[in-house]
Amino acid sequence: MYSAATMLFALGASYAAVPLYRAFCAATGYAGTPKTGMGKFEPERLHPVTGARRIKVTFNSATSEALPWTFTPQQKHVWVLPGETSLAFYTAKNTSKEDVIGIATYNVLPDRVAPYFAKVECFCFEEQKLLAGEEVDMPLFFFIDKDILDDPGARNVTDVVLNYTFFKARRNKQGHLEPDAAKDVVDASLGWSHYEHAEPIDSSSDAKGDTAVKPSA
């Protein structure tokens, strides 16, 4: 009888171990479990580190040739402290006679700062429609995470460049908006230009619409 009870208990304990382990790891962050929730946007992280060296963030802009917009930053730089949420502006004007939908991408240089550059709210990756002749201000609310001071490779960086590129938007096969430009141009605007890429999978042969994965020759 006792052995049966012991076996049942052991069986039950092995089932209970999974959620218990998960709860323990999530609470303590043991073995690298990411602490979910607001993550790097938790309010406690958003305090300026007074006394830290200021970082100069420079704003650049570019537009694709297919896009009839002017797009310029309203300030050349902003000097920010780590952990300090800051505002910056770009202005975009549709110089054509039609309404145009644009979509923006961006990258951050140097690469080692990119994981610490956090955008609270901006105007990128989603479609932005400008009416013919319209000019509009586009704000960007961001901060540089204070963990950058703990990263020996990145803590001495004082110059950060933010490059925004606006593309014309088009709909792809799935009906999603995407930049109307060659893939390598879009990749370059995202900062991937010096990485090797795998061949894109050719999905034009699936007549029935399901995306079968084919080995790229």
């Binding site: 300030q75 730089h77 300090e84 505002l87 609270v120 990128c124 990756f125 989603e126 201000d137 893939k183």
Partner: protein, 93 residues
């Protein structure tokens, strides 16, 4: 992001913003606050700290006009900044 990008097990270069995208201010309702902020930046050698009250003012302008989702100031890092009066008070979520 709705368009393709190379996957990576490391932190991705361009992560989407936490709160998404600002709606466009088509009517320029907050342009005056923006100009005030930019003027402050020019006067303070582009340092962002002295102008944080205007940052708060601009975002408050957007929130009042439905151009930004309302948010407690502490949650966006502006809790300690004196700016436009905090009419929402310290409400619990």
């Amino acid at each position: 992001m709705s368009f393709g990008r190379p996957g990576s097990s490391q932190i991705l270069q361009a992560a989407p913003p936490d709160r998404g995208s600002f709606p466009l201010d088509h009517d320029g309702e907050c342009k005056a606050m923006m100009s005030a902020y930019l003027k402050c930046l020019k006067e303070n050698k582009s340092a962002s700290t002295p102008c944080r009250n205007l940052t708060k003012g601009y975002l408050d302008c957007r929130m009042q006009r439905g151009l930004m989702q309302k948010e407690e100031w502490e949650n966006i890092g502006l809790g300690a900044v004196n700016g436009s009066p905090d009419s929402r008070g310290a409400t619990k979520k």
